[in-house]
């Protein structure tokens, strides 16, 4: 009892083959789309590489590989479907088609995996950003150290572009020394006092860099002595919301990347659905063509199906094949082995042994 059997006339088969040929070429284009989406994501991550502690490149690499594989598989599929219109040409591909379909079936799983990975990358990214931003803020002042001299610029541009401040919020700047010692007057009593009041001898202030300043504030930016309401006229630290950017840069970057990934994930899911439908069409075409060859008359009607027997039967059959793969030299079923007889009766009434049917 076949699964989802459909009867195909000759014209139906030809039309199916032509439609599948076109769809396979469309799939090549979608494969190129997948590849370029992976490339785009890779570039976006590389742009902010300095702010991440480790490479988060599993998803873009996967998308690039899947995209390239999709192109090759669908290119081959297009060629096969083009030849399927003619039964003589189909004979060339007959043996290859079933392995091709099985490969494509597993490949569509990879596409689905890629789509799901897009949504699951978030946690990995968050941790990487947390550590990366923490280090970037720590090295903000080291503009004279080779290898770290551009971190200040990167951090400032990030805070201005995404309108964010610090790692989780602007208070992160209060816990690190972001003004280099070369710009501190060590003879000044105020500076010396501040350094002494800190356990590690760091110059900590309740101030933030200029890039944290909010664009929407009605008053000129207050960057220093932020928590001191009396240091500035008409200023209440607790009520002031627009003066600095309130969002943390980790959250801002996470939102930015999540948005990109969600769009990419959606596109990949749509491509996956498309690939599955193409695969189904190719399977129907393959079974229909094989049945035509079995009938002998190329112009007759034939049946196409997804599976010849029910799902349970097919699963059992394949499972047995896999089980018997290791049983090359088993002798249990050999009818020619001598069965030792213990009694005369047993000898007279030799039970008829069933000859196993060759599959």
């Amino acid at each position: 009892m076949a699964v989802l059997k459909v009867t195909f006339t000759k014209t139906n088969r030809d039309k199916l083959a032509q439609v599948l040929w076109v769809l396979n070429w469309v799939s090549v284009v979608t494969g190129v789309t997948l590849f370029s989406l992976g490339l785009f994501l890779k570039v976006e991550i590389e742009k902010r590489r300095e702010l991440m502690s480790k490479e988060v490149d599993s998803v873009p690499n996967m998308l690039i590989c899947v995209g390239l594989t999709a192109c090759t598989i669908n290119f081959l599929g297009g060629k096969i479907c083009y030849d399927c219109v003619d039964t003589t040409k189909f004979l060339r591909w007959k043996l290859l088609m079933l392995p091709y379909i099985i490969c494509t079936f597993f490949f569509t799983f990879c596409i689905l995996m890629g789509a799901l990975m897009c949504y699951s990358m978030r946690n990995d990214l968050e941790e990487s950003l947390f550590l990366g931003l923490r280090d970037a803020m720590r090295y903000y002042k080291d503009t004279d150290t080779p290898g770290r001299c551009y971190i200040k610029r990167t951090m400032d541009m990030l805070q201005m572009q995404f309108q964010c401040c610090g790692n989780g919020g602007y208070r992160d700047w209060f816990h690190i020394q972001w003004i280099s010692n070369r710009f501190l007057d060590m003879t000044n009593s105020e500076v010396v006092e501040r350094l002494r009041s800190n356990v590690e001898g760091k110059y900590l202030i309740n101030g933030v860099p200029f890039s944290c300043c909010g664009l929407h504030s009605p008053r000129p930016c207050i960057q220093h002595q932020i928590t001191n309401s009396s240091a500035h006229y008409n200023y209440d630290y607790h009520k002031e919301e627009l003066n600095l950017n309130r969002r943390g840069c980790r959250q801002a970057l996470l939102e930015h990347y999540t948005q990109i990934m969600q769009s990419i994930g959606l596109i990949v899911l749509i491509i996956w659905l498309f690939e599955v439908s193409v695969l189904t069409g190719v399977r129907y075409l393959q079974t229909a063509m094989e049945n035509v060859l079995r009938c002998g008359d190329p112009d007759s009607e034939s049946d196409g199906w997804l599976l010849e027997n029910s799902i349970a039967d097919t699963a059992r059959y394949n499972f047995n094949i896999i089980k018997n793969l290791g049983k090359c030299y088993q002798v249990d079923d050999d009818p020619n082995i001598d069965v030792p007889s213990t009694s005369q009766q047993a000898q007279e009434n030799v039970p008829l042994k069933q000859i196993p049917v060759a599959r």
């Binding site: 610029r153 000044n188 664009l215 009605p218 008053r219 000129p220 960057q223 500035h232 006229y233 008409n234």
Partner: protein, 347 residues
């Protein structure tokens, strides 16, 4: 005296028609590109419209859009003409349309050239418009509580950060303007009172700039206040410090940006103009060579094609004459001049 006379065999006419068809589709594409570039330029100018005093510069993108649409129409008709040209039965129906068609086409093609020249010539107008607009923007920077001016601060801040510039001509423009509003000044403080008193107009002027002038590439945290005072900051020399704040003025930055844009657009439109002119010349040659074939029994004879039947001056008078006469007749002119004008129209 004929201008641009050329002999055309039948084969040459056929090739001319085919080449013209291809060229006219290329020119249609060029017209679409011109229209798109006009739209893009208009959008870019409108984005920074708040720091411009007038919209005179908008004549460049407007002209480009009109010319783009017109050239798409002209080239569509050119392709239809060349399709009908080789068919002796269908070609005569274009006869009456040719003169107005050429008149329109030459007008719009000249307009295309004028728009390219305008895009270079309007630099002065753009610069003066920006000068006034930026001056006002800086003056109203502090008025975030005045309706109609409350977004000036945000506009100027965004502009300075995006274009990496400070002030109108340079950062010193901020020293001459009170950019800190009175509502944030403590009038009981001695320092504030001294500063206001030392100024003739009673304004609170500081040698400081807003935070948006700060340069992210500077190795040290930004020094926005007391910029000219070397002793106020440790290890700081105002004269040699180049990276602290942006040195470039916003007017110069914006003019450079827009002139760069218009130069690129001008180059593209110039090449579209050349293609368009060649389309028009080819249509004219095809028309004149086919007109000589009309009425003949053998369509495969060799004919002559030309650009202008008479000389350039005479052709211009032929076209412009009726227009001028129309203008003269409408004026209250002395009878002698009127008779003279009537005489020329009848001749």
């Amino acid at each position: 005296m004929v201008v641009g006379k050329m002999k055309f065999t039948f084969q040459k006419r056929v090739k001319l028609a085919q080449g013209l068809w291809l060229l006219s589709w290329m020119a249609t594409l060029g017209g679409a590109v011109t229209f798109t570039l006009g739209c893009f330029l208009k959008t870019e100018l409108r984005r920074r419209g708040e720091v411009m005093d007038n919209t005179d510069i908008h004549c460049v993108p407007n002209t480009l859009m009109i010319v783009g649409l017109a050239s798409m129409g002209i080239d569509y008709f050119a392709s239809r003409i060349c399709q009908d040209a080789l068919d002796a039965g269908r070609f005569p129906r274009w006869k009456t349309l040719m003169k107005p068609y050429f008149g329109c086409s030459i007008f719009f093609t000249t307009l295309m050239l004028i728009s390219v020249i305008l895009s270079y010539a309007m630099k002065g107008s753009l610069e003066s418009s920006l000068k006034i607009g930026l001056k006002n923007g800086i003056r109203f920077y502090k008025d975030t509580d005045t309706p109609g001016r409350c977004f000036q601060k945000q506009t100027i801040d965004r502009l300075q950060m995006e274009f990496q510039c400070c002030g109108n001509s340079d950062y010193k423009d901020w020293f001459e303007v009170q950019w800190i509003s009175n509502r944030y000044l403590d009038f009981s403080s001695k320092e504030v009172k001294d500063r206001i008193r030392s100024n003739v107009d009673g304004r609170y002027l500081v040698d400081g700039v807003p935070f948006s002038c700060c340069n992210p590439s500077s190795p040290r945290p930004c020094i926005q206040y007391k910029i000219t005072n070397n002793t106020a900051h440790y290890n700081y020399e105002h004269e040699t410090e180049e990276l602290n704040i942006f040195i470039r003025g916003c007017r110069e930055a914006l003019v450079n940006y827009y002139m760069g844009l218009m130069n690129t657009i001008g180059a593209v439109v110039l090449s579209v103009f050349l293609i368009q002119s060649s389309v028009l010349a080819s249509v004219r040659l095809l028309q004149t060579s086919m007109e000589a074939v009309a009425g003949q029994e053998n369509v495969e004879i060799e004919t002559e094609g030309y650009l202008l039947e008479k000389g350039v001056k005479e052709t211009i008078m032929e076209y412009v004459g009726p227009v001028l006469n129309l203008l003269w007749l409408n004026e209250v002119a002395p009878p002698a001049a009127e008779e003279g004008a009537a005489g020329t129209t009848t001749s």
